[in-house]
Amino acid sequence: MSRTLVLIGTRKGCFVLESDADRRDWSVRGPFCESWPVYHAVYDYESGAIFAAAASEWHGSAIWRSSDLGENWTHSSEGLAYEDGRRFSKVSTLASRHGRLLVGAEAPGIFESRDGGETFSLLTTLAGQPGSEGWDDPANQPPGHLGISGIEVHPDDESRFWAIVQGVGLWETADSGATWTPRNRGLRADWPREHEEVGFCVHKLVRADDTRMFQQNHVGMHRTDDGGATWTEITEGLPSEFGFGAAVNPHDRDTFLVVPLDPGHGRTMPEGRAAVWMTRDAGSSWQRSDRGLPQSDAHLGVLRQAMCNDTYDVPGYYFGTSTGQIFASADDGGSWQEIASYLPPISSVHAAVID
């Protein structure tokens, strides 16, 4: 029977939740990574390793690796540095495909490892792109200082991937970072911008297939049907245009999930009633999914890496909260179960199905 792993990045280390294919009963292991703040943890299907991007207030940034599903861990930051004087403050996001681990960092830059996380080299800083002239200055950076806050790699083409610069926009490269194209046309921005192509606040990008992607933006949900060349807003029907987390049904390009949040300082679920919102028609309509979720006094926040799907025929979805709960649906969003209750504040949730 398959094993289901859910890797949790928290402000106090990495945790591993495990179940079988039924996804009803869960065990919790951790904290790992010496309880460093973990911004993103992922499972690498090719090597069977877990990688965790962590940044300690005392000891800086490193990528932690476990080759035995969390029993033993090592760490490395060899090569995770800028040689031009830029300050390397944090590793924010990971993407593992095609035998390569990509690491998003702040100040904005992407590093790669081709030896399983032992050494790293700088791949790109998106130098020369509009907006790059100011994004190294901490005064210009959004709270959280994530830099590269998301990377999505094409499943069949290792040289093609999309990267989000926090608070600036989305880019695509087709040559492993040698050249970049801003992919923000059609997005909304309710603030003045210095450049036509950038100045958009992309929170989360998820891929449905080769042409379709969805994004949760600071202002609205959006869909592309041409690989990111143009975007269409699909916010209508949702209780809020703001949120961070998003997930897709891996077998249905029309199904997409978000967690709308109040856009003010609170950034928690509206009215203290927890809910995921789903579309099954690519954003033409939205349905509230809250069966099993708390419906009073539940002021829950969900960050941008803290929602994901698994890959079972009947897909499961997972989200983690800023107050340490993990909720899971094993029935394609029909109902939810709290599978962990007392973890530290959660930054990331990543599911893996291991045969």
Binding site: W58, H59, A81
Partner: protein, 88 residues
């Protein structure tokens, strides 16, 4: 030999790294280099990645005086490496 005392947050990161050890070094930076040679990667945990600076939340004291990378060490110096109060 300088008498080097390391913070408890550092020792779990490197196999067999003790809290206290003797290091033959002329400066703080030299002492870090000695440690780096034996425990590769240790410099990055105490100094900014790619920059010749002690991390902002790591403090070095030599004979109870706040020290920098170029602070000289005497043969009987005591070096305290402190993880500053931070976080929550």
């Amino acid at each position: 030999m300088a008498d080097v005392h390391l913070p408890r947050t550092l020792t779990p990161l490197f196999p067999d790294l003790p809290r206290r050890l003797d290091v033959d070094a002329a400066t703080v930076d030299d002492a870090i280099e000695h440690l780096e040679q034996r425990w590769p990667g240790l410099r990055d945990r105490l100094c900014e990645s790619g920059r010749p600076e002690i991390r902002p939340h790591i403090h070095f004291y030599v004979d109870r005086e706040r020290a920098a990378l170029d602070t000289p060490l005497a043969s009987a110096s005591r070096v305290d490496v402190i993880a500053a109060i931070s976080g929550g």
